[in-house]
């Protein structure tokens, strides 16, 4: 072990005292089946920026953003090499539940949604892990695997499509900060929308 590496290793605990680092919390790893039936995990995207988007196709707040806004964000993010995971956590029998991958894909196609993958989380495992509260509820995870943004998609907590115009998109802002190598200016805004449809709710 070289002396520099030793020094770096010795200094690592000190990183906890750097405010920018102190705020970020590690994104818990998870595995889930995607709409194609493949098992996906967060760890397979280590080294890439990842966006998590909680969805429920029946929720008016989700529909507001799937008027084009969400699809646009997905495309722009993926063009920048960002991984976008849309997660459907509605339990069986609840609004927004996808019976199978085909149902999820049919919805994606109808809406022109272009996430890297749509994960089926009907048993709420991923939602419980991330304490997902609303649809949409957004997370931005940086290349080191730290959550650098969590919360609302934008700063207009309504379900009116016309409010998208003139709102500040907080996910786009966080991705912009990451791309420019800046600290994410706004790391949290209370998420808004319908409640995630947990199975005992």
């Amino acid at each position: 072990m070289s002396i520099t590496r030793r020094l770096v290793a010795a200094a690592l605990p000190l990183a906890a005292f750097v405010p920018a680092v102190a705020h970020a919390r590690p994104a818990p790893d998870f595995t889930a089946i995607d709409a194609d039936g493949k098992t996906r995990s967060l760890s397979e995207f280590r080294g890439k920026t990842v966006v998590l988007e909680w969805t429920n196709e029946g929720c008016p707040y989700v529909r507001k953003h799937y008027s084009g806004n969400m699809q646009g964000l997905q495309q722009a993010a993926r063009a920048d090499g960002v991984v976008w995971l849309t997660i459907a956590s509605s339990a069986p029998g609840k609004q927004g539940h996808f019976a199978d991958g085909a149902a999820a894909k049919a919805w994606m196609n109808a809406r022109g949604a272009k996430p890297t993958a749509l994960l089926l989380d009907a048993d709420n495992k991923v939602a419980t892990l991330y304490k997902a509260k609303t649809t949409p509820h957004m997370f931005v995870i940086d290349k080191t695997g730290a959550v650098v943004y969590e919360g609302a998609i934008d700063d207009k907590p309504t379900n009116k499509v016309e409010d998208i115009q003139g709102s500040k998109n907080l996910v786009a802002a966080a991705l912009g900060d990451l791309k420019a190598g800046r600290k994410v200016a706004t790391p949290f805004v209370t998420p808004y929308g319908c409640s995630v449809k947990y199975k005992d709710a």
């Binding site: 102190a22 705020h23 970020a24 919390r25 029946g58 929720c59 008016p60 707040y61 609840k94 609004q95 048993d123 709420n124 495992k125 419980t128 304490k131 509260k133 609303t134 907590p157 309504t158 379900n159 009116k160 790391p187 949290f188 209370t190 998420p191 808004y192 929308g193 319908c194 409640s195 995630v196 449809k197 947990y198 199975k199 005992d200 709710a201």
Partner: protein, 718 residues
Amino acid sequence: MFLKKAVLALQALVMGAMLGGHALAGPVVNSGHVESELVAQEAGIAPGGTIYVALRQKIAPGWHTYWRNPGDAGEPTKITWTLPEGWSAGDMVWPTPVKTRLGPLLDYAYKGEVLIPVPITAAANAQPGTTLSLTADVFYLVCEQVCIPEQAKLSLLLPVVAGTPAPDPKWGAVIGKVLADAPKPAGLKAVFKLEGQALKLAVTGGPLKGADMAGAYFFPYSSKVIEHAAEQAIERGAEGLTLTLKPGYDFVGGGTPPAELVGVLATKAGAWEVTATAGEALAGASGLGPPPAEAAPGGALAGGLAGALLFAFLGGLILNLMPCVFPVLSMKAASLAGHAHEAPKARLQGLAFLLGVVATFLALAGALLAVRAGGAAVGWGFQLQSPLVIAGLALLMLLVALNMSGIFEIGTSVQGVGAGASAKGGVGGAFFTGALAVVVAAPCTAPFMAGALGYALTQPPVIALGVFLALALGFAAPFVAVTFIPGALKLLPRPGGWMDVLKKGLAFPMYGAALWLVWVFAQQTGPMALGQILAAGILAAFGAWLYGLAQARRAAGRGWALTSGAGVLAVVLALGLAGAAAVAAKPPATTAAAEASTPSGPGLTAEAWSPEKVQALQAEGRLILVDFTAAWCVTCQVNEKVALSGPKVAEAFKAQNAVLLKADWTNRDPVIAKALADFGRVGVPLYLVYPKNGGEPVILPQLLTEGMVIEAIEKAGS
């Protein structure tokens, strides 16, 4: 009769017409799940005057709308006013919301009927005699399982009147009550303080003094200051209360801690707006423990005081049979046998024993009540949560055992060695035996005692002490009875050489008790302190031996002072060493983490308990058994070994995909104390089985068998 009714009806009609005719309300708009209208508190408005106009909503059964802070999801109701030139609308007056749980989420909502008043001020130049139209565009999210955004365009025709307007005949009183009940500042003093992962909110002041605090809850205005879904533990005080909140993003997520914590404190006695600033806890905001459990399952005690006294007496009786009392019972047996055929002396001993038991029980209960009044969340058995007490008891047990082994004598003059205990020494010994029995028996909260003690600790001190007295009497009863019933003593064999053998034999359970306490001590402190207490044990034993040697030398008429002094010194040093070890050792911070993976037996792994963990697992629909336990609770240890660690139980757990959670109360823990209080308990053990797919837990008996556990698991899984 009919005529009379008709006249009355006519009178009412005329009165109504004289008061300004119909109630002031706009047309009702039904938007699907909500019927909305505007209603006014007064029948008109004076130029430049202000009246309240309320948005009245009737929400479909099962559906809800949202408060100003909707909680974890949802959106508050919004009103956009269109008013005549020069008129203005003030802030909405939000009535206290209700908590609506959605799995792991909690929303703040309105159900049924809600009125949200808004102050409306007329232009100063409004013309009396004219009628103006107010329009409100109301937007609201209404949710059941799904959420539906709905809206309504509402209007109200409001007459401008000269002078003070009359109250609206229909809505005046209704809106008046809503305004009176709406949370307002009431001069309450409030401070908040972040203590690690707990946000303490202390509130004191007029209306809180002596109020019923059960179910008290803080609804914050900001959605970023607390975790809405977390339990809010309540601690009462003489002047108010302290709530333990789970801090949210602004406090622990990296946000900026706010200068003020503002929201609504809702209690049964009323709801008030509270503005807390950062600061140290207020005097009188704590100290009286959690409010009495509200009809806690199994905690409700039929018969109140009389029932509690009876159960306490029975509990005391049963305590004689508990495993933790056995070593002390053996001492009792030995001392009783020593006076089997001297009835008066035996009676004296019985009374002394009774006195020792009662005095110690009351002293412990008094200390417990005092500590609780001091604000600490402790329960019965609290004395064993202190490593210092455990260390002292371990050495005491060792010395008692050494004494029984004949290493040295107590309570006898040196001349009397070998001549049997004198009457005087016997009385002192019996008192001491009683005291010791209580101290060691206390953690074995016998089944009948749990309810009684839970009841006692929520009552005024006098009643609480009464319950403890009943417990003490029950505990001492068998021993005292034997000494007083003439026939009973005759049944015991005549004293003789066998007594010495019996005494020495019974020393071994005492050694066992000492070992057990050392084991508890090790759980509390760690390996370093364990080494120290073992060394202290050796030192104490050496001291006892020296002391015994001195007694023998004195009996033989030889010099004894030096040896005796050295012996006493060694014992004192041992106590000092044990004390230092206990004080120096901090409770291992890693206990909870380490406990998480401690297997309770083959194949069955207990995870660490927390209220959040229970919630999360319930959200997954899992079946949960919670084991509230402590290393110093022998009943708990026995249950774990006998009923929770076998392969059959592990199989049953596996078949139902059940989870075993362990809440370890070996060291003090206010969260566990609160959870116990929720079920009307003040001590361990407590076993809860949460059924599959949610629902209220079932309480298992305090003495478990494997079959009982398997049956409960299977029942909860079906």
